[in-house]
């Protein structure tokens, strides 16, 4: 199957990796365009699926957490993957994963953010969520597009 991002970049995804995208894997479509997901995010989401393509299944994250370190809670591949992503991008990863139905990626991202928040005072949490760079109007619009498509309004489908 091919995924086309918001900025018109095409990504191929094989069937093994596609099985994790539960909301699109059972369709007969060959190409899907995601008007609300930019190429950077889509690339990373597909990378996650490809990391696990040879796994029978991805284990669920057990609670309570053994420790505050992501490497102690999830497997090494997942920990490596999530720690390589910019913190500000993780919310976009969650939205994209929700759209595609990749529940394990949603959980992984949420756990990572939860661990970052855990044990911190309100002041430190405030600093954590502040972006280091100013958001441009283009980025604002892109974010609105992501929100709208996450509500299922803007997926354009090509046969």
């Amino acid at each position: 199957m091919q995924f086309i991002s918001q900025d018109d970049l095409t990504f191929n995804i094989n069937n093994k990796a596609l099985k994790y995208c539960t909301k699109v894997s059972n369709t007969n479509l060959e190409v899907i365009k995601f008007a609300g997901i930019n190429s950077n995010i889509l690339r990373k989401v597909i990378q996650y699926c490809e990391i696990h393509q040879d796994d029978v299944s991805i284990p669920q994250i057990s609670r309570p957490f053994k420790s505050n370190l992501i490497y102690d809670i999830v497997n090494f591949k997942d920990a490596n993957f999530i720690t390589s992503i910019d913190f500000q991008e993780i919310s976009q990863i969650i939205q994209a994963a929700e759209l595609l139905g990749i529940d394990t990626l949603v959980d992984l991202s949420c756990v990572y953010i939860a661990l970052k928040i855990r044990g911190k005072s309100s002041e430190k949490i405030k600093l954590l969520f502040k972006a280091n760079k100013p958001q441009t109007d283009e980025e604002d619009q892109r974010q609105r597009d992501i929100d709208d498509s996450a509500k299922g309004q803007r997926i354009q489908i090509f046969d």
């Binding site: 928040i117 405030k126 969520f129």
Partner: protein, 274 residues
């Protein structure tokens, strides 16, 4: 002469210009530093905050992995954070109410379960015999035991276990005879043992109490009369506490405690929503 003066004047003017330039550069550096400090102390409104552009339901998914205390701390971050938390509270109240209903059903089932079970007569007889044994002990026996500076290891172990049984906060450790002596000093020590409520023993205490099974009565008797009778008592307590009746009663107590905590949280959440 005039030429010399002219040259000197030119040199002075050049130097003056260079100094002016240096001064200007210094002022610019100060301005940069001042601007940087201002940005750090008062972030510009064009700086973007994740709380403002990430949907609240994304945060609700994150909150699943946080405890209530942490979520309340998150509320204090900003008005927006407070709003995000408030949005999820009605759903959380609903979840707690469902949990309470399920737990109450479970309690009813457990109560029905134990209604059919009477107290095991043989166990009761064993317990009675154990209490009789402890009743034979006098204050002098306890004073004698307490006066030992370094009792045998087995005796210390048995006294540790009885202190832990009487007090869930007591920590069993090696070489804490001084702590045991404090308990032995209590005026009503024997009375506390004789009137112990077996249903108040929690699972953690029960787990520790299992150690009595590895001690033989003859071993204890050879070292101390007090240790022997207390060991017999602890063995009887362990056996009865493990019975279905007491296990179920303990489970009911734990469920009731959970329900109480959840009801308190619901009240707290309702206050916040108002």
């Amino acid at each position: 002469m005039l030429q010399t003066l002219q040259n000197e004047l030119t040199t002075l003017q050049t130097n003056s210009k260079q100094q002016d330039q240096r001064l200007e550069n210094l002022y610019m550096s100060f301005q940069e530093i001042y601007d940087l400090k201002k940005k750090l102390d008062n972030p510009s409104s064009t700086m973007h905050n994740m709380l403002n552009y990430v949907r609240p339901d994304i945060f609700h998914q994150i909150f699943i992995f946080l405890d209530t205390k942490q979520i309340f701390r998150f509320r204090l971050v900003s008005k927006k954070a407070n709003y995000v938390v408030k949005l999820m509270l009605p759903k959380q109240i609903f979840i707690f109410q469902q949990q309470i209903a399920d737990q109450q059903n479970e309690i009813q089932l457990k109560i029905q379960d134990i209604q059919g079970i009477g107290e095991d007569q043989s166990q009761q007889q064993v317990m009675k015999a154990a209490i009789d044994g402890v009743s034979r002990l006098t204050k002098n026996h306890i004073v004698e035991l307490k006066s030992l500076a370094r009792p045998p290891e087995l005796v210390e172990k048995i006294i540790n276990l009885v202190c832990m049984t009487l007090d869930p906060t007591f920590k069993i450790q090696k070489d804490n005879w001084k702590e045991c002596q404090k308990y032995l000093s209590r005026v009503n020590f024997l009375e506390l043992i004789a009137t112990l409520d077996i249903s108040s023993i929690n699972d953690k205490q029960l787990q520790q109490l299992e150690q009595v099974n590895s001690i033989q009565e003859q071993q204890a008797a050879a070292m101390s009369t007090v240790a022997k009778f207390i060991l017999i008592f602890l063995k009887a307590v362990f056996e009865i506490r493990q019975s279905k009746l007491y296990m179920t009663q303990n489970a009911i107590k734990q469920l009731e405690s959970k329900i109480m905590k959840e009801e308190q949280l619901i009240k707290k959440f309702e206050k916040i929503i108002k």
